[in-house]
């Protein structure tokens, strides 16, 4: 187990290092950040002075080494737009992103699991069709369209929810649905197929022949085993929800990491850009590691080594 963990941790560090090289290179390839801020009145002296201040006068490798050295200590430099430490700016956005991601995750679980189970247990019935249509819609509707539709119907027409922005509990229902529907669709499909396979297995038939009741078979014997695949999916999904909420955050004016990252790209604010990608990479790789370990613990067929 220790060897497995150490090896995975080494992989993790290598992946993050590669990510930092890519991020740093891409952020520099997107152009000289001075070009975004300077006006036509800029002199050569100004241009050079600002370049020195930002370390742009040094060779690329040195710039990367300096940035990485500081980044591991949580110093991503000063945001070119905010003029405050980039780390602080990024950290201030994490709660909003986590809130939205967890809201979406809850929505995905509370809708996806029951619908997936119902769809499998009542195969061919109205419930099955509802589950499958729910999954089809969730996987085919783009978030920007769904978000706007939810706003128009549930907020404007019915006045049930606010149109967006962060606030009380009612504020994150629509964004959570928008972000979580696609994930819920994934749950429905995964659980449905797993349940169908397990419900058809010998031990379930044996339990039935012994006279075990329906709910016990479904929830105790079938669902517990059918949930293994969705559980590993859930870990990656949560990481995906944390890192992939750009569109939902924009539609609902949600001040999270996704919007910060996109704005940083538009502003060529490379300290923020690199910091966001680094933090998101660490989150994603970290969740992956947890999932790998959990999977190995859950499924005896997976061996450490």
């Amino acid at each position: 187990m220790t060897r497995f963990l150490v090896r995975r941790l080494i992989y993790l560090v290598v992946v993050i290092l590669i990510a930092t090289v890519l991020v740093f290179t891409l952020s520099r390839l997107s152009g000289d950040p001075r070009a975004l801020f300077l006006s036509e009145y800029t002199s050569q002296a100004d241009w050079d002075a600002w370049g020195r201040e930002m370390g742009l006068d040094k060779p690329y490798v040195f710039q990367y080494a300096i940035w990485l050295g500081k980044a591991v200590r949580g110093d991503f430099g000063v945001s070119l737009r905010d003029q405050t430490p980039a780390f602080g700016v990024i950290v201030s956005r994490i709660p909003a992103t986590l809130q939205l991601a967890l809201g979406a995750f809850v929505f995905a679980l509370v809708t996806g699991i029951p619908l997936g189970v119902l769809s499998a247990v009542k195969r061919g019935s109205a419930w099955d069709y509802i589950g499958r249509i729910f999954a089809l819609l969730g996987q085919s509707m783009p978030a920007f369209w769904l978000g706007i539709m939810l706003i128009l119907v549930l907020a404007v027409q019915l006045d049930w929810f606010p149109t967006g922005r962060r606030g009380g509990i009612t504020h994150f229902i629509l964004p959570s649905i928008t972000l979580g529907w696609g994930a819920a669709a994934g749950f429905v499909r995964l659980i449905r197929s797993s349940m169908l396979e397990i419900l058809d297995s010998e031990y379930i038939k044996f339990a039935r022949s012994k006279g075990v009741g329906g709910p016990t078979i479904i929830w105790k014997h079938a669902f517990k085993n059918a949930a293994i695949a969705p559980l590993t999916f859930a870990g990656l999904l949560l990481a995906g929800l944390i890192t992939g909420a750009v569109v939902t955050e924009t539609v609902f004016a949600w001040p999270g990491l996704g919007r910060l990252g996109v704005d940083a790209v538009f502003n060529n604010d490379f300290p923020i850009m690199a910091g966001v990608v680094l933090i998101v990479s660490v989150m994603y790789v970290g969740v992956n590691l947890v999932v790998d370990v959990a999977y190995a613990l859950i499924d005896p067929r997976i061996r450490y080594g």
Binding site: L36, Q99, A227, I228
Partner: protein, 633 residues
């Protein structure tokens, strides 16, 4: 297989995860004093030479004669010109006080950056427009129908000045009794000089149009501050670099504050002297402003107690928030203006800020040979690609190439039906544009009929044929999708009109930020759509962005002769001579079709039924402004 212990653990952990996921978001979610004001009654002495101009008849059948008073600066031989002097007046009673709250939706909420040297291009006017900071000079309150008069820019913190053209200085008198927000005391000449010098220091990022000609600001005494120009750089239009009716000026900050808390902390402290005090300022989220009970300006007393400015980037979400009443005021594009007005009962549209010219710049025409300031030869630039694939680019070394390219630019210009664009794209709320000189429209006494662009697609086809551009040739066209002052729909309409004369138009929709470096580096070689300011003074600087510098350009550079004229105009003391020079520049642009104006687009905000009064002025950027004029139900 029987259920195992691992499966039971798994089941339990699933339930635990579900429970945690439910609880965590919820946790995270919770995560009459009577004032007597003194009003200063001013006696303003303004030297003016009045010229009466009679407009020429524009049609055979109707003769319109209109007398226009034109303010002309008096040429000065003496060393000191006293332009304005204030005298104290009698006190009056204060208004009843601010009430109510208003919520404003903006597409973006920029970060709070107080130190001028740290402010990037185009943020400083937002801080002033939102009512937190103020500039040194303020024009008399004006509406969209008035052009502000520099001689009357004495209604702000600066209440008068003496200009010494020989010594190349201007000494400003500072208003007494202007207080910074909080406990940061009275604004004095020390603060004014500090603000400008801070913004002027080496390595500054500050976008300011006096940066390259000012040597320093000096404190004369507590209420007198002096600007020293570099030798030969005295700016006859100095008011326009310092007042509220333009961008790129310096918001005044407290020297004491910066020295007390240090630069690092001061950079985000939004402490100004404006009618509203910043209580909360979170970039991309919201700003909360509260009425400043100690604000000095009698005609600028805030009427609402609190203003919340919230960031809603998606326009449909903004419209929805207007419909539900969550938001009282929102910037709405021309395309959705009618829908919003129909959907929000009792709402009204208000023009906000200066209108914006939508201009096609013929990228790649780098004709300048000399970078005057750096005394460097810059010709030929990498972007100068006068070949068959770039038929709009002319090479000044080859007269035939210049003539061919001119025909192409002319053809593409006259194929644009700007009236139709205004009608269909701007819902009739804009107007056609004919010249790049944004302060002069076709009703101005300075407008020349020869400048009018006449839509003529047939002649356009003929010119293309003469230039050897075959039908079906491709014209690339960069239409930035994300520049707040550029309407991509206008670009799409222009592209379609080029298709209508037999060309293929390949629209490039690269984000502005990604493309801007090619403008700075002078490597862009395709036409592109950008904006230009409209309104303001007719003696404005033209062609500043079409000269070689280390900074921004419009992707083309004029000839050295025109750039010389631009520089001469910057220090030309005579108003009429400056107009004459701008006329020459405009004639040159017309002769070469160096740029192509299309339409003038006016930004609009929709104010909901709770907003009784709001009078946004028009000589500013097109963001939320004049908050002190808002009165709500």
């Amino acid at each position: 297989m029987m259920p195992s212990l691992r499966c039971r653990r798994l089941y339990c952990s699933s339930i635990l995860m579900l429970a945690l996921s439910t609880i965590l978001p919820v946790i995270l979610a919770c995560g009459g004093t009577e004032t007597v004001e003194k009003v200063v009654e001013r006696t303003v002495v303004v030297e003016k030479q009045i010229e009466k101009v009679v407009e020429k008849p524009v049609a055979q059948t109707v003769v319109v004669e209109k007398q226009i008073e034109k303010v002309v600066e008096k040429p000065v031989a003496q060393t000191v010109v006293v332009v304005a002097t204030p005298t104290p007046g009698a006190p009056t009673t204060a208004p009843s006080g601010p009430t109510g709250k208003v919520v404003v939706a903006e597409t973006r909420v920029i970060p709070p950056v107080m130190l001028p040297s740290k402010q990037g291009a185009g943020v400083e006017f937002v801080y002033v427009d939102w009512g937190v900071f103020e500039y040194l000079l303020r024009a008399k309150a004006h509406t969209s129908k008035e052009t502000p008069d520099p001689a009357e820019a004495i209604f702000g913190i600066g209440i008068g000045w003496e200009a010494d053209t020989t010594a190349e200085t201007v000494t400003f008198t500072i208003r007494k009794g202007v207080k910074f927000h909080g406990d940061w005391g009275e604004l004095t000449a020390q603060d004014v000089a500090f603000s400008f010098n801070e913004g002027n220091k080496e390595g500054t990022r500050f976008y300011r149009n006096t940066r390259d000609r000012v040597d320093r600001w000096e404190v004369v005494d507590n209420y007198l501050v002096r600007i020293h120009y570099r030798k030969g750089q005295f700016d006859p239009r100095f008011v326009e670099g310092l007042w509220n009716a333009g961008g790129g000026n310096t918001p005044l900050i407290s020297k004491k504050l910066v020295e007390t808390v240090g630069e690092e902390k001061a950079v985000t402290m939004m402490i100004g002297t404006g009618p509203f005090i910043s209580k909360k300022w979170v970039a991309d989220d919201e700003v909360v402003l509260e009425a400043n009970a100690n604000y000095w300006r009698e005609d600028g007393q805030p009427q609402v107690k609190q203003i919340r400015i919230v960031a809603i980037p998606e326009e449909q979400a903004k419209i929805a928030a207007m419909k539900t009443g969550e938001v009282d005021i929102a910037a709405i594009s021309s395309k959705f203006l009618r829908e919003t007005l129909d959907g929000v009962k009792g709402s009204k549209a208000r023009p906000v800020g200066a209108a914006q010219l939508q201009v096609v710049f013929w990228g790649g025409n780098y004709w300048a040979k000399t970078w005057v300031e750096e005394k460097k030869q810059v010709f030929p630039r990498d972007g100068l690609k006068a070949d068959a694939a770039h038929p709009w680019i002319g090479d000044p070394r080859d007269p035939a190439s210049m003539e061919r390219a001119k025909k192409v630019r002319e053809a593409l210009t006259i194929s644009i039906n700007s009236d139709l664009i205004n009608k269909k794209v701007l819902a009739g709320l804009g107007r056609s544009a004919h010249i790049y000189w944004g302060a002069v429209d076709d009703k101005s006494p300075f407008f020349q009929e020869r400048w009018r662009i006449k839509y003529d697609p047939n002649r356009a086809k003929q010119l293309l044929s003469e230039a050897g551009v075959a039908a079906g040739s491709t014209i690339p066209f960069w239409v930035p999708p994300d520049n707040p002052a550029v309407d991509p729909e206008v670009g799409f309409a222009v592209a379609q009109m080029w298709r209508d004369i037999g060309l293929k138009t390949a629209i490039e929709a690269t984000a502005y930020a990604a493309r801007r470096p090619t403008l700075v580096a002078r490597t862009i070689d395709i036409p592109w759509l950008h904006h230009g300011g409209v309104g303001g003074r007719p003696d404005t600087e033209l062609m500043g962005t079409m000269r070689p510098t280390a900074g921004f350009s419009h992707g083309l550079e004029a000839t050295d002769e025109i750039i010389d004229l631009y520089f001469a105009n910057r220090t030309e003391p005579n108003f009429l001579k400056r107009i004459e020079n701008n006329t020459k520049i405009t004639d040159w642009i017309l002769e070469w079709r160096f740029v192509t104006p299309t339409v003038v687009q006016q930004a609009h905000y929709v104010a909901g039924p709770r907003v009784l009064v709001w009078e946004p002025h028009s000589f500013a950027w097109k963001d939320f402004l004049s908050p002190e004029t808002i009165v709500v139900r």
